[in-house]
């Protein structure tokens, strides 16, 4: 029993050591997103609170904490309260399997990539629950849109993951990174990387695919009835999900914690920093896309997902597997 508790304490310590930086970086990433967005549009962005406006997110969080939480009278109260909690929890638990370096990973499970995929596909429930429980038109429409959108783009993300797995021969995330020691998968699977990036935008409801919360049509989509800390939790969960998608892209295609070239000044930098650089790079791309691309129409979104991405990535699975088979490169023999 004693050893059980000591294991429990070390695990809790490790989890806190991972989650607190993730939460802080989510707050920072919101600031970065707004800054990049502002710079593209030749504005200044948040620059008042703290140096360069770095504490803007903290100020926002304080504001949200002290705001009143309003629960609509006609809502389904339990589900209404549960929805942001589900979003936030799901966004955080998936960080358990992200490998920051060879020995710095919370849970090095065999089916890591499936776990990531499963948790990201559960993310839709927070949105559906929030939209349904609000018992009002705009949230419901937003939730329905979002569910359809996320389910559609998950399909192509799944097929893209299959492409990577064909080259690795393992579902373990550390194995996926180690398989990229000689060549990052972004080079042979470049079209898949592009499609993954776009699908990740759609999966996290980012512009240009932010139809679930399209202001002009749906007020704020599924978040319309939320206020105060509950709204903030939705928001944090969304950004944590975006970071997670960036981390997933970095692990699958950009070689995770590996340095780009294995020579001195580069490989002296520890692995976690490389992973963070890559996540930041992908996130800045996300922010640039948000700043530059206009919103898609819903039918175009569906057409893109089902009629272009899905067939193309399926074709690429055939291409990858036949290439590997022909040149006898199939892993895991």
């Amino acid at each position: 029993m004693d050893s059980y508790f000591s294991i429990l304490f070390t695990e809790v310590y490790k989890i806190l050591f991972l989650l607190v930086p993730v939460l802080v970086s989510v707050a920072m990433i919101v600031w970065l997103d707004r800054r990049v967005w502002a710079f593209v549009q030749k504005r200044r962005g948040p620059n008042v609170v703290g140096p360069f406006g770095l504490f803007q997110s903290l100020a926002d969080a304080l504001k949200y904490i002290f705001k009143e939480i309003i629960i609509p009278a006609s809502s389904n109260k339990l589900v209404f309260v549960l929805a942001p909690v589900v979003t936030m929890t799901l966004a955080l638990i998936s960080w358990a399997v992200i490998p920051f370096s060879e020995d710095f990973v919370l849970a090095d499970i065999n089916v890591g990539i499936l776990y990531l995929f499963a948790v990201s596909s559960l993310g839709v429930y927070g949105i559906i629950m929030g939209g349904w429980a609000s018992n009002s038109k705009y949230p419901f429409l937003g939730a329905i849109r979002s569910a359809a959108q996320m389910v559609s783009y998950e399909v192509s993300i799944g097929v893209i993951i299959i492409n990577v797995l064909l080259c690795v021969g393992s579902l373990n995330l550390s194995d996926i990174v180690m398989a990229q020691q000689n060549l990052w998968f972004v080079i042979p699977l470049f079209p898949m990387f592009v499609i993954f990036f776009i699908s990740a935008l759609a999966e996290t409801n980012r512009p240009p695919f932010d139809l679930p919360e399209a202001e002009a049509e749906l007020v704020a989509g599924y978040q319309t009835e939320y206020s105060g800390m509950m709204y903030a939790m939705f928001w944090l969960g969304e950004y944590a999900n975006i970071l997670l998608m960036c981390a997933m892209g970095a692990v699958l295609f950009l070689g995770g914690w590996l340095s780009p070239i294995d020579i001195f000044p580069f490989n002296a930098i520890p692995g976690p920093f490389w992973l963070i650089f890559k996540i930041l790079f992908l996130f800045i791309l996300f922010a640039l896309v948000k700043a530059t691309v206009p919103r898609y129409r819903y039918d175009q979104l569906m057409k893109l997902g089902w009629k272009i991405f899905l067939p193309f990535s399926l074709f690429y699975v055939v291409l990858t597997s036949s290439f590997l088979l022909y040149f006898d490169l199939l892993p895991g023999k």
């Binding site: 029993m1 059980y4 589900v79 499963a118 559960l122 579902l171 175009q300």
Partner: protein
């Protein structure tokens, strides 16, 4: 091992209670939420016995896709209007009760057969034609069996699913009249000659458009 059994009982309790709540709760959407909870706790049980691949696939397929569509349909149909009418024999000629009873009887007898076979013939488990090795990960061992010995069954089940999918599309597809569809090819391949017409306009005469 204590922790293991504690978690086992927690997950099984959640699974059983939520399975009961699926049928008991009056709100249909709540039923689906309980169904999802049931799926999740059962996949946790799968993971606990070391079948992590099955557990994850269960999460991805059932919770991530099937239950979402379920929820979708239930929310869209607004079943709340029919609340309480399901079990009164007046509604729809009362055809639901006999069919439901038949289906549940069949499932009940199937359960008896399965549990009976496992209880009274324990050597059934040892009669498997393939020995399960504990050295490779279970993802790999499933793949080894599924794509070699059972490839035909696997392909046939895939075909059945494909046929079911096409059938569903055919059943619900209806051709709508007067829908304007966007064709990227058509839009991109438009030339200047088709789109623009240069007209000499005479003074004080004007032009007839769409002539």
């Amino acid at each position: 091992m204590i922790a293991h059994s504690v978690f086992f009982y927690i997950f099984s309790l959640i699974a059983i209670v939520s399975a009961v709540m699926v049928t008991v709760s009056k709100n249909t959407v709540h039923s689906v939420f309980f169904l999802i909870l049931d799926f999740i706790s059962i996949s946790c049980l799968f993971i606990m016995i070391g079948a992590e691949f099955l557990g994850m696939i269960m999460l991805i397929v059932y919770v991530g896709a099937v239950a979402v569509l379920f929820l979708f349909v239930v929310m869209m149909l607004n079943v709340a209007e029919q609340k309480g009418q399901w079990f009164s024999s007046r509604w729809d000629g009362g055809t639901h009760i006999p069919v439901g009873l038949l289906v549940s009887l069949i499932i009940f007898f199937e359960l008896i057969i399965v549990i009976g076979g496992w209880k009274y013939k324990p050597d059934l488990l040892n009669s498997l034609s393939i020995n399960i090795s504990t050295e490779v990960t279970n993802t790999r061992s499933i793949g080894n069996v599924l794509y070699t010995d059972y490839i035909h069954l696997f392909q046939i089940s895939g075909m059945i699913l494909l046929v079911a999918m096409i059938g569903a599309i055919v059943l619900t597809y209806r051709e709508r009249v007067g829908v304007k569809r966007q064709s990227y090819v058509k839009q991109i391949s438009r030339e200047r000659d088709e789109g623009v017409d240069l007209v000499e306009v005479e003074k004080n005469k004007g032009v007839k458009i769409d002539a």
